[in-house]
C-alpha cells in the first residue's frame, strides 16, 4: 500500500471530458435552431445557474435547503433597485446582486451549520419566508405583490439592447452561466471542493484531517448565495421586472425538485434538470393548461422509482453499460 496520496483520479476528473465540450456546443446550436424560443431558453439558462448554485451547497457540501430562493430574490431585488436608481448597466447590476446576496448568505450561514436535514430544511425555509413577508410589507420599495417596474436596462456593453426576441438576453444569460459554471467546476475539483465532499460524506472525520469544517461550510454557503443572487439579477435584467414570487417557497421547492431530478453532485445535473423540467412544464402546460400538474407529478414519480440519482445517475448507468 502506497503512503503517498494518488491524486491522478481527481486530477483526471478535473480535466474536461469530450462530452462536456459537446454539451456546451448545444446552447450555441440552440440559438440558431430555436430562434423563436429564446425567451424560454434564457429562463432555462437562468434556472440552470440557480440550480448550480444549489448543487454547490447541496450536492457537494450536503446542506439541504428549502429556502434558496431567499438569495435569488435578494439578488433580483438588488439588481432591480440599482436599475431603478438609474444605474442600468447590466454587469454592474449583476455584481451588485451577487455581492448583496452573498452578504445575506454569509450572515445567515450560521443557521445551517448544525442540525439534521430536517432542521436545515426548515430553517432555510423560515428565512426565505421571513424575507418574503418583509418584501411584501416594504411595498414602497419592492412594489410588493404588484411587482417592481421601472427597471430600465441600458444596453449591454453600451451596444446590445435587450430586444423583444430575447437574442441579447439569451446570449447574455448563457455567457454568464458558462463563466460561472467554469469557475464552479474549478472550485469543486480543487482541494477546497474535495474537502466539501468529505464533509458531506463524513462530517465527523474531517476535523481529524485538519479541515475547519464550519469555515468551509460558511464559505460554500456564501458562494452558493452569490451564484443564486446573480441568477436572480439575470432574471430581473432580462425581464425588466421583479415579482415577489422570486422569494416564494414554491421557487425554492421547485428548484430542489429540478436539482434532484437532474442529479446532485455533478453540476451538470442542475443544468439538465432545469432544461428538462422547464421544457416538460412548458410542453405539458401548452397541451393541457388545466391539468399539466398531474402529468408532471407522474413524471417525477417515475423518475424516482426508475431513475435513482436523477438524470445524471441514469446517464452514468448507461455510460457504464456502454463502456
Amino acid at each position: 500500500m502506497s503512503l503517498t496520496f494518488d491524486n491522478t483520479r481527481s486530477r483526471r476528473a478535473a480535466n474536461w471530458h469530450t462530452a462536456e465540450y459537446g454539451f456546451w456546443m448545444l446552447p450555441i446550436v440552440a440559438y440558431f435552431v430555436f430562434p423563436e424560443n429564446l425567451a424560454l431558453l434564457s429562463q432555462i439558462a437562468i434556472t440552470a445557474l440557480f440550480a448550480v448554485s444549489l448543487d454547490l451547497i447541496l450536492g457537494y457540501a450536503g446542506i439541504v435547503s428549502l429556502g434558496h430562493a431567499a438569495f435569488f430574490g435578494v439578488g433580483a431585488y438588488a439588481a432591480g433597485l440599482l436599475a431603478q436608481a438609474g444605474w442600468g448597466d447590466p454587469i454592474l447590476g449583476l455584481a451588485c446582486a451577487g455581492v448583496v446576496a452573498g452578504l445575506v448568505g454569509w450572515i445567515t450561514s450560521f443557521l445551517v451549520l448544525r442540525g439534521t436535514d430536517l432542521t436545515r430544511l426548515m430553517v432555510t425555509m423560515g428565512v426565505a419566508s421571513m424575507l418574503y413577508v418583509s418584501a411584501n410589507k416594504l411595498t414602497g420599495i419592492t412594489g410588493g405583490l404588484d411587482g417592481m417596474q421601472g427597471v430600465d436596462m441600458k444596453p449591454l456593453f453600451g451596444q446590445f439592447a435587450f430586444d423583444l426576441y430575447g437574442k441579447t438576453a439569451y446570449i447574455y444569460c448563457v455567457a454568464v452561466l458558462f463563466i460561472l459554471f467554469w469557475l464552479a467546476r474549478r472550485i469543486v475539483h480543487s482541494p477546497f471542493g474535495l474537502s466539501l465532499q468529505g464533509i458531506r460524506q463524513n462530517v465527523f472525520r474531517m476535523p481529524a484531517l485538519g479541515t475547519p469544517v464550519n469555515a468551509r461550510l460558511i464559505a460554500v454557503y456564501t458562494l452558493g448565495a452569490v451564484y443564486a443572487g446573480i441568477a436572480g439579477g439575470l432574471l430581473t435584467q432580462t425581464t425588466q421586472f421583479v415579482s415577489i414570487d422570486v422569494l416564494s417557497f414554491s421557487r425554492s421547492a421547485e428548484l430542489l425538485l429540478i436539482l434532484v431530478l437532474g442529479g446532485t453532485g455533478s453540476l451538470y445535473g442542475g443544468i439538465l434538470g432545469a432544461a428538462i423540467f422547464m421544457t416538460m412544464h412548458n410542453y405539458l402546460s401548452d397541451i393541457d393548461p388545466q391539468y399539466w400538474q398531474f402529468w408532471l407529478g407522474l413524471l417525477l414519480i417515475f423518475v424516482v422509482l426508475f431513475a435513482r440519482g436523477g438524470i445524471m445517475g441514469a446517464l452514468r448507468t448507461v455510460a457504464k453499460r456502454l463502456a
Partner: protein, 285 residues
C-alpha cells in the same frame, strides 16, 4: 382571555393536522410531503358525505379516517415501501409528485372553488365563560385534540404495538429477530399517519377551508410543527403546536403589523437553540 383561548384552539388545530406527519416522519423516517394530500382526501370525503349524502358531521370523521387509511395502505404497499431506504431527497421528490397528482385530481373531480361546509348547530356559536368568549367549534377541537394526544401517547408508550413500533424503528433487524413483523408494523403506522391526516383535514375545513391547493397551501405549517416539536414525538408536537398557535394569534392581536412573521421567527429561533426541535432526539443524520 378570548385571544388566549383562540391561540390554544389554533394550536390544537395545528396539532391535529400535523401529528400524522410527526408519526410517519419520526417513526418511519420517511419525508412524506404528501401528508397534506391525505388531509385533503379526508376533507373531501367529509364534505361529500355531508353535502351529498346528508351524513351527520361527526359520523363523517371516522369514515374519512378509514378511507384515508385504506388509501394509505394501498399506496404504501405499491409505492412508498420501495423508497424506505432511499435518500430523503428522493422521498421529497416522490411525495411532491404525489402532491401534484392529487391536486390535479381534486381539481378534476371537485373543481377549484372552496367547498362549503355547514356544521351541525350544536357546534356553532359562542358562549361566555370566565371572562372569555368560547367558540363552540374551537372548544370541540380542543377536546378532540387533547383526547387524541392522550390516546396516541398511550398507544405508542403503553401498548405492545407501540413497543413493537419503537423497536422496529430503532433497529429493524433486531426487531425481526424477536419475531416482530416489521413490515406489518410499518403498514399499520403509515395507515395511522394517514388516518390522522384525514381527521385533521376534515376537522380543519371549518377554519382552513378546502380547495384542491390545500396540500401546498398548508405544507409549510405541518413542517414547522414537526421541526419545532421534534419528529416522532407526540408530546413534542402538541407542545410545539400550542406554542406556535398561541404566539401566532397573540402576535396578530397585539402587533398586527408583524402578524405573519411570528410563526417563522419562533421556528427559526427554536431551531437555532435546539436544532433537533424541542423534544427531538439528538442530532444524527
Amino acid at each position: 382571555m378570548t385571544v388566549l383561548f383562540d391561540g390554544v384552539a389554533s394550536g390544537i388545530l395545528l396539532f391535529l393536522i400535523s401529528v400524522g406527519l410527526s408519526v410517519t416522519l419520526g417513526l418511519m423516517n420517511f419525508v412524506n410531503l404528501a401528508h397534506g394530500a391525505f388531509a385533503m382526501l379526508g376533507g373531501y370525503v367529509c364534505v361529500v358525505l355531508l353535502n351529498r349524502f346528508n351524513v351527520p358531521f361527526l359520523a363523517t370523521l371516522p369514515i374519512a379516517m378509514i378511507v384515508a387509511a385504506l388509501a394509505g395502505v394501498v399506496l404504501e404497499r405499491t409505492l412508498y415501501r420501495r423508497l424506505y431506504g432511499a435518500s430523503h431527497l428522493d422521498q421529497v421528490l416522490f411525495s411532491i409528485g404525489l402532491v401534484f397528482m392529487s391536486i390535479s385530481t381534486a381539481n378534476f373531480f371537485f373543481g377549484d372553488h372552496q367547498q362549503p361546509l355547514h356544521l351541525p348547530p350544536m357546534l356553532k356559536g359562542q358562549f361566555h365563560l370566565a371572562g372569555a368568549d368560547i367558540g363552540a367549534y374551537r372548544l370541540f377541537l380542543i377536546v378532540v385534540g387533547l383526547a387524541l394526544a392522550v390516546a396516541l401517547q398511550w398507544l405508542v408508550a403503553g401498548t405492545k404495538f407501540g413497543a413493537s413500533l419503537r423497536a422496529a424503528v430503532d433497529n429493524p433487524r433486531a426487531a425481526r429477530g424477536l419475531g416482530i413483523d416489521v413490515d406489518r408494523v410499518f403498514v399499520a403506522t403509515f395507515a395511522l399517519g394517514t388516518a390522522l391526516a384525514a381527521l385533521g383535514g376534515a376537522l380543519g375545513i371549518e377554519m382552513l377551508g378546502l380547495d384542491p391547493e390545500f396540500p401546498i397551501t398548508y405544507i409549510v405549517y405541518f413542517l414547522i410543527v414537526v421541526a419545532v416539536g421534534g419528529s416522532g414525538n407526540i408530546k413534542g408536537s402538541l407542545i410545539a403546536s400550542l406554542i406556535l398557535g398561541i404566539c401566532d394569534v397573540e402576535g396578530k392581536y397585539y402587533v398586527p403589523q408583524i402578524g405573519a412573521f411570528v410563526i417563522y421567527l419562533v421556528m427559526v429561533a427554536t431551531l437555532i437553540v435546539r436544532p433537533q426541535g424541542l423534544f427531538g432526539r439528538s442530532a444524527t443524520k
